[in-house]
C-alpha cells in the first residue's frame, strides 16, 4: 500500500470519527435533556408557562420539527461555526471562544513543551543510569505526580507560593487594576504576565511530565539493549552520541503517537488547572458554564475537545507514516 492509499484511508477514518462525535453531541445535548427541560432552560426554572408560550418556543427553536430536520439544522450550524448564544454572557459563543482560546493555547503550549523536554531528558538519563539514584527518584516522583490530584497540586502551589512565601500571584492572568489602568511599558507587561503564568504552567507541567518520563524510560530501555547500540559503542562513538543519535532517535517513534494520545488527558488537566488558578482560558470558561448550566458553551467545548483529539491523532498517524520507513501504511 502506498502513501496515498494510506492517507486516503486515514482521512476517511477521521471523517467517520468527526461524524460520530457530531452525532453524539447532538444526542447528548438535543435529545438527552428532553423537550420539557429544554423549554425550562429557555424560560427559566420554575416559571409558569402557558400552552401558547410552549407552542411559540417550539416554533422558534424548531422543537416540534421532525428529528431529521433538527439533525440537519444542527449539522449545518456546527459545521458553519454557529454555536448559538451563551446563556451566561448573552454573547455569541464564538465571540467568547475567541477571547478565551489564546490564554489556553499559551498555557497548554508552554507546559507541554516544558513537560516534553523535562520528561524526555529525565527519561533518557534514568534509562541510561538504570537503577541509580536518579532513576529511582525520578520514577518515584513521576508516580507521585500521577496519583496526586491536579487540583490539589494547584491548591498546594497557591498555599505555598502565594500565601506562605508571598512571591507569586494566586490567580488570574493579570492584575485586576489593568482593566481600567493598563500599563504602557512593554517590559512590565511581559514580566508581570510571566509571574502570573508561572504557577499554572508549573502545575500543568507536573501533571504531564511523569507520563513522558516513564514512556521515554521504557522505550529507551528497550533500544539500549539492541545490537546496533553495542555496535556503535564498539565503533568508539561517544556515549553522548550513542544516547542521543542512536538510541533516542529510534526510541522517539512511539513518543510521537503518545503525545497525540495524551491530548485528551491534557485537556482535562487544563480545565482543572485553569479553574484552580482562575486562568481565563477554555477550562475556566467550562467551569463558569457548569455553574450556569450554559449548554451551548458546554456543547462547543466538548465539540472542540473531541475535534482536537481527532486532529492530533490524525497528525500523529501521518507523522508516524512519514518518519518511520518501516511502516507499510497499513
Amino acid at each position: 500500500m502506498g502513501l496515498k492509499t494510506y492517507l486516503a484511508k486515514r482521512i476517511i477514518y477521521t471523517l467517520v470519527l468527526v461524524f460520530f462525535v457530531l452525532t453524539l453531541n447532538f444526542i447528548i445535548f438535543e435529545l438527552l435533556p428532553g423537550q420539557a427541560s429544554t423549554i425550562e432552560a429557555i424560560t427559566g426554572k420554575g416559571s409558569r408557562v402557558s400552552q401558547a408560550q410552549i407552542q411559540a418556543i417550539e416554533n422558534q427553536y424548531g422543537l416540534n420539527q421532525p428529528l431529521y430536520v433538527r439533525y440537519y439544522k444542527y449539522m449545518y450550524n456546527v459545521l458553519s461555526l454557529q454555536f448559538g448564544i451563551s446563556l451566561r454572557t448573552q454573547h455569541s459563543v464564538l465571540q467568547d471562544l475567541i477571547s478565551f482560546l489564546p490564554n489556553t493555547l499559551v498555557l497548554l503550549g508552554a507546559s507541554t513543551i516544558l513537560a516534553v523536554v523535562i520528561g524526555i531528558g529525565l527519561g533518557m538519563l534514568s534509562a541510561y543510569k538504570r537503577g541509580g539514584a536518579l532513576d529511582t527518584s525520578s520514577v518515584v516522583a513521576s508516580l507521585t505526580t500521577f496519583s496526586l490530584p491536579t487540583f490539589w497540586m494547584g491548591l498546594l502551589a497557591i498555599l505555598i507560593f502565594s500565601y506562605t512565601l508571598n512571591i507569586l500571584p494566586s490567580g488570574g492572568n493579570e492584575p485586576a487594576f489593568w482593566a481600567y489602568n493598563p500599563p504602557h511599558n512593554l517590559l512590565t507587561i511581559v514580566s508581570t504576565q510571566i509571574q502570573y503564568a508561572i504557577l499554572p504552567v508549573a502545575v500543568l507541567t507536573l501533571f504531564q511530565y511523569g507520563f513522558y518520563v516513564l514512556l521515554t524510560r521504557a522505550t529507551m530501555l528497550e533500544t539500549l539493549n539492541e545490537d546496533y547500540i553495542t555496535t556503535a559503542r564498539a565503533k568508539g562513538v561517544s556515549e553522548r552520541n550513542v544516547l542521543v543519535k542512536h538510541a533516542f532517535k529510534n526510541a522517539s517513534l512511539p513518543l510521537v503517537t503518545s503525545v497525540a494520545l495524551a491530548f485528551g488527558g491534557i485537556l482535562g488537566g487544563a480545565i482543572i488547572t485553569e479553574t484552580v488558578f482562575r486562568w481565563p482560558g477554555l477550562g475556566f470558561w467550562t467551569f463558569l458554564s457548569i455553574q450556569f448550566r450554559d449548554t451551548p458553551v458546554l456543547q462547543t467545548i466538548f465539540y472542540l475537545g473531541a475535534m482536537g483529539i481527532i486532529i492530533a491523532n490524525f497528525v500523529a498517524d501521518i507523522l508516524y507514516g512519514l518518519i518511520d520507513p518501516r511502516i507499510k501504511y497499513g
Binding site: 470519527l17 460520530f20 462525535v21 453524539l24 447528548i28 445535548f29 438527552l32 435533556p33 508516580l143 507521585t144 500521577f146 496519583s147 496526586l148 490530584p149 491536579t150 487540583f151 490539589w152 491548591l155 498546594l156 497557591i158 498555599l159 502565594s162 500565601y163 506562605t164 494566586s170 485528551g264 488527558g265 485537556l267 482535562g268 480545565i271 482543572i272 479553574t275 484552580v276 467550562t286 467551569f287 457548569i290 455553574q291 448550566r293 449548554t295 458546554l298 456543547q299 467545548i301 466538548f302 475537545g305 473531541a306 482536537g308 483529539i309 481527532i310 491523532n313
Partner: protein, 507 residues
C-alpha cells in the same frame, strides 16, 4: 467427589503461595496498610464523629481553626465555644438561684420575682412551652409614694477564659407581659457587661400593642444580626465587647417609669430561656467550614464516598471491559470489528469534558457519577483483554477443549477467563484511583451531590470561599485522595509482579 476435593486443595495451595509472595512485596504491604487504615476510617466514621457532616451548622464560628493550633505560636488568641447553660429556661422554683442569676432592684423590694409553674413566656411551639417561667411583679397602690423609675436587673456573671474574642455571640430570651396598669410602657434592655461596663445588644419597649404576646427576639440578640452590628459599627460586636480574659455578665434590665402618685400601678412580666452562647474561633480536630460544620466529620464521611465511588465504578467498568474483550477477542470477525470500532470511538472522546457534560445534564448525584464513570471507563481495558484473548485462543489447550466438544461459552468461561483473571485483578486495582480522582475532580469543579460530602467537595468549599491559606483544611482531603489512590496503585503493581511472572523476570 475426590476430584473436586483435589481441585479445592490445589486452589488453596495456590492461594497460600500467592499470599506468601504477596507478603514479601514491600509495595503490597504499604498499599495494604494504607488501604486498611482508610477502610477502617470509613467504617468507624459514625463512631468517631459526633456531628453530622452536612446538617450540623454552627457548631462553632464559621471558618474556625483547629483547637490544637492554640498551642502553637500565633494561636494564643483562639477561643472556644462557651455557653452559660446547657439546659436553658427557668423550670423550677430554685432555678434562679441554682443557675446563679443575680437580681438587683431599685428601689429595693419594689419587685417580686418568683417561679410560676403554669404560665410560660415561651412561644407555644418552643420546647420550653410547658416548663413554666420566672414571674416578675411590680405593684403600687394609688397614693403611696412613686419612686420615679423602678429598675430590676437579672444578670449572670461569667469568666471568659480566652485572650481572644469569640467569633460570634448569640443571646436568647423569651418574654411575655400579661399585665400593664398605670404606666404606658415598660422598657426592656438586654446587655452584656464587658469588664464592668454594660453594653446594650437589644432593647424593647413593652407597650399595649405587645400585651399578652410571647416575645422572642431570637436572632436579634445575635452579634451577626443587623441591629446589633449597627450599634457597634464599624467594629464587630463580638470583638468590641469581648476584649480578652476577664469577668463579663449577660442579663436583662426592666425599667418601669412610675412617677404618677395618683394612679395605682401593676406590671406582670414572665421570663424564660435567658441564655448566652459564645461561638469560638477554634473547634475540634480540623476546625469548621463556611457553615460552621465540623471538617473532621466531613473527612471521615468523605472516605466512604471515595471508597464507594472508586470500588463500584471500577468493578462495573472492569466487568464491562472484560465481557467486551472476551467476546470480541474470542468470536473475532464481525463481532470483533463492531466492538473494537466502538471502543475506538469512545477512546477518542475527551474524557473529562464528556464527564462534566453528562454530570451537568443528568444531575451530579453520586449514583449518576458512579454510573457515568463505569460506563465510560471500560474501553482501554477491553482492548488489553482482547489482545490477550487473541493469543490465548491459539493455544493448544483451547484446541483440545474444542475437539472434545466444548461450546463457545464453556471455552470462554472455563479456559479463557481463568487465564485473563490476573490481568483483570491488576487493572481493577489500577482503575480504582482513576475513578477516585475523577470523582474528586468533578466535585471540585462544583459537580457534587448536595446530599453527600466528599473530599473533592471539601476542596471545592476551600476554593469557593477563598480559604486556600487554611492549610488544616486544604491538606487532609488532598492527602487522603493521594494516599488512597497510591495504595491502590501500589497494590496494582504488586499484583502485576506476582500474577504476571514475565514482568518479575524483567525487573
Amino acid at each position: 467427589m475426590s476430584a473436586r476435593r483435589a481441585a479445592l486443595d490445589f486452589q488453596w495451595r495456590r492461594f497460600k503461595g500467592f499470599l506468601k509472595q504477596f507478603g514479601k512485596s514491600k509495595r503490597a504491604i504499604i498499599g495494604i496498610v494504607v488501604l486498611v487504615f482508610y477502610v477502617g476510617f470509613a467504617l468507624v466514621a459514625p463512631f468517631v464523629t459526633p456531628y453530622d457532616p452536612l446538617y450540623s451548622n454552627f457548631l462553632a464560628g464559621e471558618f474556625a481553626k483547629p483547637t490544637w493550633l492554640s498551642g502553637l505560636p500565633g494561636g494564643s488568641s483562639l477561643s472556644q465555644n462557651m455557653q452559660l447553660f446547657s439546659t436553658p429556661g427557668f423550670s423550677s422554683p430554685s432555678s434562679l438561684q441554682d443557675q446563679g442569676w443575680n437580681v438587683t432592684q431599685s428601689p429595693a423590694g419594689a419587685f417580686v420575682v418568683h417561679y410560676n409553674k403554669t404560665q410560660s413566656a415561651a412561644l407555644p411551639n418552643s420546647t420550653l412551652a410547658n416548663t413554666g417561667s420566672e414571674e416578675i411583679d411590680y405593684s403600687r397602690t394609688a397614693g403611696s409614694p412613686a419612686p420615679g423609675v423602678a429598675i430590676i436587673t437579672i444578670s449572670k456573671s461569667f469568666v471568659w477564659p480566652y485572650s481572644g474574642s469569640p467569633w460570634r455571640f448569640a443571646g436568647s430570651l423569651e418574654l411575655l407581659m400579661s399585665e400593664l396598669q398605670g404606666v404606658n410602657a415598660v422598657k426592656g434592655d438586654v446587655f452584656i457587661s464587658s469588664l464592668g461596663l454594660p453594653l446594650p445588644i437589644y432593647n424593647v419597649t413593652l407597650d399595649r400593642s405587645l400585651f399578652g404576646e410571647a416575645i422572642s427576639p431570637g436572632f436579634s440578640l445575635d452579634s451577626h444580626s443587623s441591629n446589633v452590628k449597627q450599634l457597634y459599627t464599624p467594629s464587630d460586636p463580638a470583638q468590641y465587647i469581648f476584649l480578652g480574659k476577664g469577668a463579663y455578665a449577660y442579663g436583662v434590665q426592666f425599667t418601669v417609669p412610675d412617677d404618677n402618685q395618683a394612679v395605682s400601678v401593676g406590671v406582670k412580666l414572665f421570663l424564660t430561656d435567658l441564655n448566652l452562647r459564645l461561638y469560638g474561633t477554634s473547634f475540634g480536630l480540623l476546625g469548621t467550614d463556611q457553615y460552621g460544620r465540623d471538617i473532621f466529620s466531613q473527612l471521615a464521611w468523605g472516605t466512604r464516598v471515595s471508597l464507594l465511588v472508586g470500588l463500584v465504578a471500577s468493578v462495573v467498568a472492569v466487568a464491562i471491559g472484560l465481557a467486551v474483550g472476551l467476546v470480541a477477542g474470542y468470536l473475532g470477525r464481525v463481532v470483533d470489528e463492531v466492538l473494537m470500532r466502538s471502543t475506538d470511538l469512545l477512546l477518542v472522546l475527551p474524557g473529562l469534558p464528556l464527564l462534566i457534560i453528562l454530570a451537568a445534564l443528568l444531575g451530579p448525584s453520586i449514583w449518576n457519577v458512579i454510573a457515568i464513570l463505569a460506563l465510560l471507563g471500560w474501553p482501554g481495558f477491553a482492548r488489553i483483554i482482547r489482545a490477550q484473548v487473541l493469543s490465548i485462543k491459539e493455544r493448544s489447550f483451547i484446541e483440545a477443549s474444542k475437539a472434545a466438544g466444548s461450546g463457545v461459552s464453556h471455552v470462554i468461561t472455563k479456559h479463557v477467563l481463568p487465564n485473563v483473571m490476573g490481568l483483570t485483578y491488576v487493572n481493577l486495582a489500577l482503575s480504582v484511583p482513576t475513578a477516585i480522582v475523577t470523582e474528586a475532580s468533578l466535585a471540585f469543579l462544583g459537580l457534587r451531590d448536595p446530599n453527600v460530602i466528599s473530599w473533592g467537595g471539601m476542596l471545592n468549599d476551600v476554593q469557593g470561599t477563598g480559604n486556600v491559606a487554611s492549610w488544616w483544611w486544604v491538606l487532609p482531603p488532598g492527602l487522603s485522595i493521594a494516599l488512597l489512590s497510591l495504595s491502590f496503585i501500589l497494590l496494582g503493581y504488586a499484583l502485576d509482579e506476582i500474577l504476571n511472572p514475565r514482568l518479575r523476570m524483567r525487573r
